[in-house]
Structures are given as structure tokens and as C-alpha cells.
Symmetry: C3
Subunit: 333 residues, 3 copies
């Protein structure tokens, strides 16, 4: 098997919109293949040999343990050596250095920077700045403030893709998104990516104060993607192919206003499992609180743990694509 012509080679990964359908399909197939190769010791050692000549810096000035570990292990799977900044207060800044200078210096030691910050737009800005230098390295946005988290969107796509593999893929599926849709970055990115699929139906289920925002609804209208709103998850359960649960993002509250909300209608209760389709799935980007009954965890349709692990595998895929070893993996088949 070889990569089909016309499939892109990523350099910077800055926003979910970069992924078109052929690239999404390629990355999903590559992810499945990597997982398969990784089932044996020989396969794992093969993968680890692919990028043993590369070094990546994980620049995480905004703490995010799970995204950090997911990327670091993706690097390790391909043999990439990692160095890390996990402290919001890096030593350089106290000496009055600009973060542009600091990151350019750091970039000179490595072949790629994976960047998580709470500064909106810093990943883009860094990528643009490095592009003007003698030695640009790829920047992967691993979450920048509230705007983008493209690799999270990709792992969600992969989880849907993989779950519906024997049912015609994502095309034509009904996806319910539940919870804090106004402030949830993941549901927004995923909704945008639906433009790449045919006949998808989105159902938004949120308290009025946390409803999906108008800009995204307008985007969906323009792209002729079917969407509707409901005020109670229970009614929607039987007809959803995927239910994407999210937690309340009350860290963005101005004055704790959302803590008063009654979330009963936006919770996946244990009894819902009976009404859920036999091939439907329940997703969650994690971390969760009480929006999913813990007894649901044991059901095979609860895929949120696999979804977390998929994050590592899809990131492995992205690294393989950027560093051009995806063909080597495909050829192993």
C-alpha cells in the first residue's frame, strides 16, 4: 500500500480547518495501521526506528498533563527524542527576553515544537515568525487558549471513523453533542470538520445559556450541514449514532453563574444504555465530572477510554506524516 497522490504533507499543524477529506482519510487509515503494527514487539521496534534521528520539544507553558503525555508517548512510539518545558515561568523571560526570541532559540535545538499555551494565536504567530528564519521547524498547536486544538479534533474524527468503519464511515451519521456547547472547544472543532463528510446530522443539546453559538450555526447553514437543537438528551438517545458528552467549563464563568444549572437533562444516565442503539457510541473528550454515570464505563459502546488512547495514536500519525515516514509504514503491509 502507498500513499495516494494528492494527499498532503503537513508542515505546521495549527487549526482543524487544515485537514481536508483525503488527508483525514489518510491519517485515519494510517492510525489504524500503526495500531496494528504496534501489536507486536517487532512492529514496535520498527516504528521506533523510523524517527530515531529526530528531536522534538514539548513546549507546554499551559499545564495539560494528558495532552502532554499523549504527545510525548506518540513521539516515543516513533523513536523521537523529546525535551520539555512544562513550567509556565520559563527562566528566559525573567531576563526580559521576548517569547519570540526564546522560542526561536529553543527551536534551534530540535526538529519540531509541540506548543501548548494559554495565549490565543501564539502558535500561529510562532509558525509565521519561524517561517521567515533560516531554519523553520514545524509547529504543532496542542491547544492555544480557547481557539484551537486541532489534534483533539482529529482524534475525535478517528474515533468516529473507526467506530463506523463497518457501517459506511462517518457519512450519513447522526451525532448528538451534549453539555457546554457555548464554550466547549472540542465540539466546535468537530462541528467544523463535519463539512468534510456527507449527510451528517448534528443535534445540539445544551441548557439555553450554554447553547452552541450562532457563528457556528451560520457556518453549518452555509455548508448545508443539517443541525437541530433539543433540550433533553433522553429523547435523542435512540436515534443518535454517536453521543458526544462534554463537561461544564465553569472555569470560564464570570461569577459562577453556570454552577446553578440543573444538568439532569444533559447527563448520560445509566438507564439510557437500554435505549441506545446497539452500534451507537458514547464519546467524551475527558476529563469528565458527573455528566456520565460511572456504570456506563463497562458498556462496550462507551468508547471514551479508547478515545483517549486514540489521541496518542492519531498524534503518532501526524508526526509520521510531517516527518514523511507514513509511506514507510504503509509499505510494511
Amino acid at each position: 500500500m502507498t500513499r495516494q497522490s494528492g494527499i498532503g504533507r503537513l508542515f505546521h499543524v495549527l487549526r482543524a480547518q487544515q485537514f481536508d477529506r483525503p488527508l483525514l482519510d489518510h491519517l485515519c487509515d494510517l492510525t489504524t495501521l500503526i495500531r496494528k503494527v504496534a501489536k507486536t514487539r517487532e512492529g514496535l521496534n520498527f516504528l521506533r526506528s523510523l524517527l530515531s534521528h529526530k528531536r522534538v520539544m514539548l513546549y507546554f507553558t499551559q499545564p495539560s498533563t494528558r495532552t502532554f503525555l499523549s504527545f510525548e508517548n506518540a513521539c516515543h512510539i516513533l523513536g523521537v527524542q523529546t525535551s520539555e518545558i512544562r513550567n509556565p515561568a520559563t527562566s528566559s523571560e525573567y531576563k526580559g527576553e521576548s517569547s519570540e526570541d526564546a522560542i526561536r532559540t529553543f527551536s534551534s535545538y530540535v526538529d519540531m515544537i509541540v506548543m501548548r499555551t494559554n495565549v490565543e494565536g501564539l502558535a500561529d504567530q510562532t509558525a509565521r515568525h519561524l517561517d521567515e528564519t533560516e531554519r523553520p521547524v514545524p509547529i504543532i498547536n496542542a491547544g492555544s487558549g480557547r481557539d484551537q486544538h486541532p489534534t483533539q479534533a482529529l482524534l475525535d474524527i478517528y474515533t468516529l471513523h473507526r467506530s463506523f468503519e463497518h457501517r459506511g464511515g462517518i457519512d450519513g451519521k447522526t451525532i448528538a453533542m451534549v453539555g457546554d456547547l457555548a464554550r466547549g472547544r472540542t465540539v466546535r472543532s468537530l462541528s467544523y470538520l463535519m463539512k468534510n463528510y456527507r449527510d451528517v446530522k448534528l443535534i445540539f443539546i445544551a441548557p439555553p445559556s450554554l447553547a452552541m453559538r450562532d457563528d457556528l450555526k451560520q457556518f453549518l447553514d452555509k455548508r448545508q450541514i443539517d443541525w437541530s437543537e433539543h433540550d433533553n438528551l433522553e429523547d435523542v438517545v435512540p436515534r443518535a449514532d454517536a453521543i458526544y458528552m462534554t463537561r461544564l467549563q465553569d472555569e470560564h464563568d464570570v461569577a459562577g453563574e453556570s454552577r446553578q444549572l440543573d444538568l439532569t437533562n444533559f447527563t448520560f444516565h445509566y438507564r439510557f444504555l437500554e435505549r441506545l442503539g446497539p452500534e451507537a457510541i458514547v464519546m467524551h473528550p475527558m476529563p469528565r465530572r458527573d455528566e456520565i454515570d460511572r456504570r456506563v464505563d463497562g458498556d462496550p459502546r462507551a468508547v471514551y477510554w479508547r478515545q483517549a488512547r486514540n489521541g496518542m495514536w492519531t498524534r503518532t500519525s501526524i508526526l509520521a506524516n510531517i516527518f514523511a515516514v507514513d509511506d514507510a509504514i504503509l509499505e510494511r503491509l
Copy 2:
């Protein structure tokens, strides 16, 4: 040489009581063998190839630099790639996630978790929880609150085993334990493990307020292990095969009460070296304060530095056993 039938394969390592005599002997022999293999570049590269397909997470929410480094380097010796959490405040928790959920997510990226926490029982609880999931990984307890630190106990056993190798092993030896016996985790674990050896004599030397606790004395009586108490180290020096020194654990004081104690009788003074048997040894789990005269360091019977390094080697052994490459190491002979 091959592993003898009947020798266990560890999965979780949660408490010192898990180690029976055949396993202790196997791990000690394996440790000696690994150290031998590690003496050449070829040997080290062989060891590093054994687990190059494995990834381990060091989850240290309670800081412990020496245990951390010891485990990390044990991993590196076998080629295992490591990722780490060394910050008590992991990012996930602030979002209201349970530590069960957090650790389960982290576990999905790796093949094992080495866990150091100040929560008693968390390692056990995590192991039990993961056992109920689709993808359990081994948990190694690297110290959980005041209850257990099984790999420390193993390195102490190894140091005794190795030191008495040409004198019939640990069986029949007299071991003096000195200092804060009431609160020292290491002396307690080591005492429990003595049930695996024949005719060992334990001598406890501590100020009355820090005497070995009754529960352990009862355990020793039940197992018919000979023990006695003394109030002065000096008298015991000539007849001890091993003297295990410990420091005052005054961080557990309620109101600084132990800082008033006169520790002269519980200190290893320089002049004791003359009265110490020519093949006896002085141990200390480190860190130490003033309970050993620094001039003792230069004496070949002071084995506490080797003991620290043994910690790395015995942990390497445990990893090799869990991941089933001990046979490959034995076969290299």
C-alpha cells in the same frame, strides 16, 4: 542458565509480602547478573535492546528525587522509554476529575505505572481499578504514604544477600536495626521479609519513645523470628553481621518532641569501626543526617552508597521480571 520452574512472574508490585523466598533469590541472582552484563558496552546495549518496545510512566505526585531517579535509570538501562508526572498538582484535577479517571487515562498511553503518592493505599486501589478494565497495566508501588515501599525492601535484601554471598547468605545472620524504628518504613518492611530466611536474629536499638512497634514484634513472635532490644548501639557492634542505621523521622512529629532526644547511643561513631567484625556491614537507606560519622564513609564495610546504587539494579530486575525478559538475560550467560 534459565529461570527455575515455580518462580513467579510479578504483575503489580504493591507490598513487600508478595516476595517469597524463591522469587527473592531469583531477583537477587538476576540483579547480580544484570550488573555483570552491564560492565561492558555490548552488555549495556544488549540490556537496552530488551525493552525498547515498552513505555513506562513515573507518576510521582509525592516528590522523591532519589527513588524517582533510581526508577528512571532502571527503565533506561532496559531501553524503556519514560514519561513523568513529578508535580503534586496535576492539571487534570483542577477540572474536577477523579484521580481514578486521571490515572486510567494516563495508563492508556503506557505499559506500566510506577507510582509514588502520599495517599496510603492509592497504589492498591489503582491496581484493583485497572484490573477491572479492558487494558490493565502493572502498577509498581514506589512508596505510598507510610505503609509500603516494596522495592526499597528488595534493595535492602539484595544488599544483605550480596554482602553475605560467600558466607552462606542471609540465613543465620544477626541484623541490628538502629534509630527511629517506630516510624521507619524501611526497617519494618525488612523485618517482615526476614520470615523468608532461617535463623536470623534481629536486634532493635532505639530510644524508648521510638521503639519498634508491638504489631511487628507480634509478627516476629508468630513466625518464630528471634528478636531482642537494646538501648546502646556500642554494645551490639561486635556481634552484628549487619548494622542498619536510620535517621530520625521528625517530619512525623506532632510537636517536635523527638528533636529533644539524645541520640548519642544510636549513632555509629568512628571508633566503632575497630569493634565491627571484618566482614560485617553498615547500611543506611539514606538520606542521613548525623547518625553515621562521615569518616566511616571511607571504610569498605560502609555499604550504604552501594546500597543506593543497588536500588537501581534491583528495580531493573523487577522490570525485567514483570516484562518477562529475565529469561533472556539468564540465557546470555
Copy 3:
């Protein structure tokens, strides 16, 4: 190509004065060669195989992100596995342990310690202490308080060496040093190293309160190294082969006194590029503030970014020398 007889093998690297001319030339040539080898995947994998049996601890109790990353990636280039202490408060100290004991314990897990502290002389002291033990490991001083930072000096030498390679090397060149010369560790170390080169002229350009200190001027006089002082960079630009810019070290101010200074005459302004010789270079140890106009960055004579990257390569060279794989690299030619 092989290493010439008489070229030293480093063990501890504690101060710039250790490097004599043959060793400096050897390390510079080795650095250039390593960079060449590192241009291909095969070359990088060859380098990474050289020290895959070694483990190094980065002991950084004084934060320094760029020096840390530079050393860590140097280690990774040669396949060395690293473990790190980046927290000023290591866990051991709170238990009343001496730093001597702590570092000796840490040293028992690894083959080398790279040490950055704010304690003057701690690297020397540690080296001396370990030399008296059974298992000394090399210590590299990665910056200790205000006294020494020898690998920084070496990267500066390499940058000069490489820049003047086709113009007869460093011998006979004129080097202007600009800014806070009283407190800048890098300019002091570099000045000391000039004793290894013939006919070098040093020009110090600093506000009177930050002038180069007398001890160094006396050293230069004794070694018959030509030096002079000027009060304005602009006049010196046309005749300098290298202009070494430095930032104000106002963290060492007693009462913010240097913040009042007018630094106009000690700034590299954009218009200076016209008067700068076509083969001259502008250096800076970074981080910088406003002492170089940012528009200078795009000029090929601005070598400070390459200088930062050179730091990684010269440290790779030092590791290769200490661990005796420099010959293997030379033989690859």
C-alpha cells in the same frame, strides 16, 4: 582522520582555563565534523549509536531553560539517556541531607552529572568530593553562580573559529565586547581564552560603571594581549572582526542603579550594518533585550542564532571527548 597525539581527554569540565589550544582546535574541528555527519539520517543514527550505553543526569537547581535544553539535546544526539532535576527544591534537602550526600547518591545512577547551580564553587567541590570515592563520574559545570560557565566560552570560541575559518582563524582578529562587561560572565571567560590565540586585539566598550574589571585587564597585560577601551560602539564598528554584544545584567544591581543608564552608545543600531565589514560578525550570548535592533536579525553577519545552535554542537563535542568516542567520529571521515 584520527585525533592527534597530545590532545587531552577531558574528565571534569569545570572552568574555561582547562582548554588549551590543541584541545580547543580539536573540539572545534570535531564540532564541525559532527554537524556535517548530522546532516543525514544515517549520520544521525550513527551518532546516536555512539553513547547509547551512557546515562547522564542534568542537575539544574538554578533554572536555565536554554542551557538545559542545549545539553539535553546534545546528549540525545549521541544517544545518551538523560534524567533531570530542574527544581531548586530537591526533595532530599528537606530531610536534612547535605547536598554532598544527595549528589553522591544521584551520581550512583549515572555516568556523568551536568550541573547548574547558583552556588559558586559547588561544581568544583562536587568534583573533588567524587574523586575521593569509589565511583567518580565526570562533572560538567553548566554555570555556577557568577564564576564560571566553560561550555558557553567554548561555544563562543567555536562561533569565532568557524566564522573566520577561511580567514586564518581567530589569530590576529579584533574583537569588540560591548555592554555590561563588569558583570558579564561570558565576555570575561572569552577574554581569558584569548591567551590561546596570537595577536588578538580586544576592545571593551561599556559605560564607565560597567567597565571590564581590573583583574582581567591585569591578566591580559601579563599575557601581552592587546586591549583598549572605548566609549562608543559606533566608532569601533568598521574595524572589528567580531562584535560581541551583551545585555545589562541588572538582576545583580544593588538598588536598580544601572537601569538609569543611557545605553545608546552600547547598542547595535540598524544603520551600523552599513559600516560593518563584509566578513565581520555580530554575536550575542542571548537572551537579549534591546541592545540589538531586531532588523539586524535578517543580516547574514548576525550570527547569534547560529551561536545558540553551536552551543548544542559544542556540548556534543565535549561529551564525545569525555566519553572517548571522538576518535570514532573522526574515523568516519
